[in-house]
């Protein structure tokens, strides 16, 4: 049943700028570093000779969490907005489809779209490094994939939470503001050191890549994402639709 909803959701996102956003995020990060390395090519390649790929990944890593929080917020909001705009909820939920399926489908489509973003990032990083002549033989494929996908896995709680908020509130200004605050906040919380830093979900995307023990943060992200998604569903199935 969820696949029917998902197929319908893929149709509905046409021409809403979501596809654009999915490519804009990762390509924006790549473009920034392309500019950075393009302008200071000689200096950077001399200074970081021998660990060029690692340096590039570290430079990109700084922007991944903030982009993820922004991406999660905007994708959730655009998806919910499609249904809020003319209160299509009342039409959708009067169809023979369970509310579970409707909610999970929104979660699934945002997950798939953001995964695509991650793929674009991975390909973009590889393409950028290669075009900067960092060398194919030294390319750290494992690290590139970890950088592209693990922070996203660790930000699933944010996805579940924002999707729920966006679907709950007709006025999208509230969740968008919260999302932007979370994104900016993640820059500052990343500066905190010690165990507190690791407890903060805002930092999980960062630790999901830099570790140590990335798997803990990825697992925590998955677990918390599932719990929040479940709570969201339980609420959504009970909710009155006006």
């Amino acid at each position: 049943m969820m696949f029917k909803a998902l197929s319908s959701d893929f149709l509905k996102i046409r021409g809403k700028g979501i596809w654009f956003l999915i490519f804009l995020g990762p390509l924006g990060i790549i473009a920034m570093q392309a500019l950075n390395y393009g302008l200071r090519y000689d200096y950077l390649t001399q200074r970081y000779a021998g660990r060029l790929w690692e340096t590039l990944l570290a430079d990109i890593q700084m922007f991944v969490p903030i982009s993820l929080f922004l991406g999660v917020t905007l994708v959730s909001s655009l998806l919910a907005h499609i249904e809020h705009q003319t209160n299509a909820w009342k039409q959708l939920l009067a169809l023979p489809i369970s509310r579970n399926a409707v909610f999970f489908s929104k979660f699934a489509i945002s997950f798939l779209l953001l995964t695509l973003s991650c793929m674009v990032l991975a390909i973009g990083v590889a393409a950028l490094g290669l075009s900067l002549r960092f060398g194919m033989e030294t390319m750290p494929i494992g690290s590139i994939l970890r950088l592209s996908f693990l922070p996203f896995a660790a930000s699933l709680p944010a996805l579940a939470l924002f999707l729920w908020l966006c679907m709950l509130l007709k006025n999208q200004a509230v969740p968008i503001t919260l999302g932007v605050l979370a994104a900016i906040g993640s820059v500052f919380t990343s500066l905190i050191s010690g165990t507190l830093s690791k407890m903060l979900p805002l930092n999980w995307p960062m630790f999901g890549y830099i570790g140590p023990r990335q798997e803990l943060f990825v697992a925590a992200g998955f677990a918390a994402g599932c719990v929040i998604c479940l709570m969201g569903t339980l609420h959504f199935i009970k909710k009155d639709v006006n």
């Binding site: 029917k4 909803a5 197929s7 319908s8 149709l11 509905k12 046409r14 021409g15 809403k16 499609i82 705009q85 003319t86 209160n87 299509a88 909820w89 009342k90 039409q91 959708l92 939920l93 009067a94 169809l95 023979p96 489809i97 369970s98 009970k238 009155d240 639709v241 006006n242």
Partner: protein, 304 residues
């Protein structure tokens, strides 16, 4: 109780201590067109939302096709098409894609999309983004969406809102065809009696959340039958005379008012009075129109 397509028992919805719908016992028969009437804010939309499981009743139960809505919602909704309040649509998509978004969920055959579009007269506009549609066209698209799944039961909440007179007429004709051609049962709400007077077989009238009338339109006509007024020389004496003959009347000034209006009774009244040497100056029939009756029911809340 399988004879009723829709049956509610004690259906109520409370918002912040106030009942928007209270103790509703709807009974809608198969193949009927049920006109659900009431002024704005009476609780029509709230009721229809409960019938579709969009909101949970505070009290009471809903049975559709003889099944409990809270137990078998999906299997019921598979056989229901609906349009609730103002139409919902995805403005950036064309009419065809709007229907396709629904079709993918209800799994109707693809050919059904162009069928319903031509039923509601939107075939020519199928490819345009819906945000450019007029309200009437959006309303038609809403009706097309409701028809998409070949429903056995159609619930339309004020479906002619925003339509021009010719559009209203078209939709009325369309709805009239439903039971005849496809055996579909239709629940149609409106705040105007004239809207359903010509199509509905049964009407339910809701006022401030309460069902104050539910019967066939023929019986509503019966209720609307007026009264006779007789202007006579001595109304007091005439009143007593008629009572002796078992005919009740009310006298106001020189006028006697009588509920009975059958030819036979009127003839008997006149004959009796003439025989007792009353002068009869006027014999008039006062007919209430259905609209007057409707306004009286929803206005004063006279319990019929």
């Amino acid at each position: 109780m399988n004879e009723w397509i829709i049956e509610t028992k004690g259906l109520s919805k409370r918002y912040k201590g106030r009942y928007a719908v209270s103790n509703l016992n709807l009974k809608i028969a198969k193949g009927d067109i049920y006109g659900f009437l009431g002024p704005n804010g009476a609780g029509k939309t709230t009721t229809i939302r409960m019938l579709l499981g969009l909101i949970k009743p505070s009290n009471g139960s809903v049975n559709i096709f003889g099944k409990a809505l809270n137990k078998e919602r999906l299997s019921i909704l598979r056989r229901v098409g609906s349009l609730v309040e103002y139409p919902s649509y995805y403005g950036h998509l064309s009419a065809t894609d709007n229907l396709e978004a629904i079709r993918r969920i209800i799994e109707a055959p693809k050919s059904r999309i162009s069928e319903v579009l031509s039923i509601v007269g939107l075939a020519k506009e199928a490819r345009r983004p819906v945000k450019g549609f007029s309200l009437g066209m959006k309303q038609r698209l809403g009706i097309a969406s409701a028809l998409l799944g070949n429903p056995e039961l159609l619930m339309l909440d004020e479906p002619t809102n925003g339509l021009d007179p010719s559009g209203i007429l078209e939709i009325r004709e369309l709805i009239k065809q439903m039971p005849k051609q496809h055996g579909i049962t239709v629940l149609i709400s409106s705040h105007l009696l004239s809207e359903v007077e010509l199509t509905a077989g049964t009407v339910g009238i809701i006022r401030q959340g309460e069902l104050v009338f539910q019967d066939t339109i023929a019986n509503l006509h019966q209720q609307a039958q007026g009264s006779m007024s007789l202007v006579v020389s001595d109304p007091e004496q005439a009143h007593i005379t008629l009572r002796q003959h078992g005919i009740e009347s009310v006298h106001r000034g020189k006028t006697l008012l009588l509920e009975q209006t059958s030819d036979h009774t009127v003839a008997r009244i006149v004959r009796t009075l003439v025989e007792r040497k009353h002068d009869i100056y006027r014999v008039e029939e006062k007919r209430k129109t259905l609209e007057e009756l409707f306004l009286q029911i929803v206005g004063e809340g006279t319990q019929l």
